[in-house]
Amino acid sequence: MDLMAVNLAYGIEKLLLIGGIITVSLIVAMYTTYAERKVAAWMQDRVGPNRAGPFGLLQPVADGLKLFFKEEIIPLTSNKTLFVLGPALAMVTAMLTSAVIPWGSSIEIFGRNVSLQIADVNIGILYVFGVVSMGVYGIMIGGWSSNNKFSLIAAVRGASQIISYELAMGLSLIALLMMTGSLSLKTIVQQQMEGGWNILYQPLGFLIFLICVFAECNRTPFDLPEAENELNFGYHQEYSSMKLGLYLFSEYVNMFISSAVVSTLFFGGYDIPFVDEAALSLSIGANTVALLGFGALFTKIIFFLFLFIWVRWTIPRFRYDQLMDLGWKKLIPLALANMLITALVILWLNK
C-alpha cells in the first residue's frame, strides 16, 4: 500500500464518491423519518404528515430547520466537551461504515474506470464490525456526560445490549465467511452473482444477523436505551436542538447503512436478479448496467428500511431480561450450531 502512488485524478474521484455517498445517505435518512411517519399512519389508519408541501413531502426539511433554530442548551452540571463529542461521534461512526460497501460495479467516465466503492479493503466485513463497536461510545459518552441518572442507565443499557448482540452477529457471519472464503465485500457480491444469493444457503444465519442488526440500531423491539415510559427519553434526554437531531438522525443513517450491509451480504448486493450482467452490458453498455445495479441495491435497501419500520409498528418492546436472554441463551447457541452445521456440510461436500 504505497500512499505516494495516489494521484490527483484518483483523489478527486474518491472525494466525489465520498461526497456523493454521504449526501445520498443523509437524504435517504431524512426521508426515512418521513416514511416512518407515513407508514405508521398507514398501519394505524391515519393520514400522517400532509401539511408541508405535496403529500407532506417537505416535512423532513421543516423538522430539520426546526431543530437547527431551536435553542442550544448545555446543562450546567454536564461535562461540556464530552457532551458535545457524544452526538458527533454517533453521527461519524454511523457514516463511516459506508466506506467499504460496494454501491455498484464500476462505471466509465472520461476513459477512467471508476469503481463505485470507496475502499475495497481485504478485511471489509471486519472493518464494519470495528466501526460498529465504536458506535457504542457515542451513546455511552452522551449518556454519561449529561450527568443525569436516566441518561446513564440508558447509556449502560445501550452499551451492554450492543456488545451482547455483537457476539451473535459475529458468530452468524462466520458461517457465511466459511462459504465465501473472503472478507472483502466486493468479492462476496461477485460470488453471489455467479452462485446465487447467500440467503439460499444461510437462511438461519440471515435471521440471526437480521435480529442482531435490529439490536445494534437500537430499533424496536430492542429500543430499550430510549424506552420513553421507563427512562423518560433515554440517553439523549438532556440534549436539545441539532445535537438531539444528530442522535435521532444517526439512528436513521445506521438503519440505511445496515440495510445496505444486509443486502450486500445476503441478497446479492448490486446483483440484478435473474439477469446476466455480463451479457447485458454488451447490449446496453457497462455504465447503464452499473446504474441498474445500483438501482437494484437501492430497491433492496428500501425493502429493508420498510422492514425496520414495519417491525417497529408491529412488535412491542422486550423487557430487559428477555432481551439479554434472547441474546445470550438463544441467539449465540443457534449461531454456534449454524456455524458447526455449515462447517460439517462444507467438509462433507469437499470430500
Binding site: M1, L82, N122, I123, S133, M134, V156, A159, I163
Partner: protein
C-alpha cells in the same frame, strides 16, 4: 518525507500524547477515553505496517470491547478526587521504580530486533489475514489451542464467581 513516515510520526506523537493524558487526567472517564485514543493510534501503526487484520482486531477487541467494559465499571463507580485514597510516598516510589524497570526491559528486548524493524517499514505481508491464519493453524496450532482453553477456563471461572449461591439466598 515519504507519506508513510509523516503518518508514522503523527501517530507516534498522538499515541504518546494520549498515553500521557491517560496518566495525567484527573477524571477516570477521561483517562479511559484517552486510552481509546492510544489504541486507535496503535491501530493506525498496524495499518502502516500492512497488518490490516491485526489493526482491525486491535480496534474491535481492545478499543471496542475491553474499553467499553472499563468505561462501564468506571461510570458506575462514580470515582472522584475526594474519594480517592492517598498512597504513601514509599508506595509511589516503588511504583515508579517497577514501572521504569519494565520499560528498560522492553527497550532492551526490542532494541536489536531486525525483524521488528523491517516490518515497521511496511514490507512484510505477515499481518494479512491469510498469512496470519496459515501460521496460526499450522506452526502454532498447539499454543493457539492451549490459549483458547485458557480463555474457556477464565470464562467458566467468571460464571462460577458470578453465579448466586442458592444456599445463601434468604427468601
Amino acid at each position: 518525507m515519504h507519506i508513510n513516515e509523516i503518518l508514522f510520526w503523527f501517530l507516534t506523537a498522538l499515541a504518546l500524547f494520549s498515553a500521557m493524558m491517560v496518566v495525567f487526567s484527573k477524571n477516570p472517564v477521561h483517562s479511559v477515553l484517552w486510552l481509546i485514543m492510544v489504541f486507535m493510534a496503535i491501530t493506525g501503526h498496524y495499518i502502516i505496517m500492512n497488518a490490516q487484520f491485526l489493526a482491525i482486531v486491535n480496534m474491535i477487541v481492545y478499543a471496542g470491547a475491553i474499553m467499553v467494559l472499563f468505561l462501564f465499571v468506571i461510570m458506575f463507580m462514580n470515582l472522584n478526587a475526594e474519594s480517592e485514597p492517598q498512597k504513601s510516598k514509599w508506595m509511589k516510589f516503588a511504583a515508579v521504580l517497577s514501572g521504569g524497570s519494565l520499560m528498560l526491559i522492553l527497550i532492551a528486548a526490542l532494541k536489536d530486533n531486525e525483524g521488528f524493524i523491517s516490518s515497521m517499514r511496511g514490507e512484510g505481508s505477515i499481518g494479512l489475514i491469510k498469512n496470519l491464519g496459515k501460521v496460526l493453524f499450522t506452526d502454532y496450532v498447539v499454543p493457539f489451542e492451549i490459549s483458547s482453553i485458557l480463555f474457556l477456563s477464565a470464562m467458566v471461572g467468571a460464571v462460577v464467581l458470578a453465579k448466586k449461591d442458592s444456599s445463601t439466598i434468604v427468601s
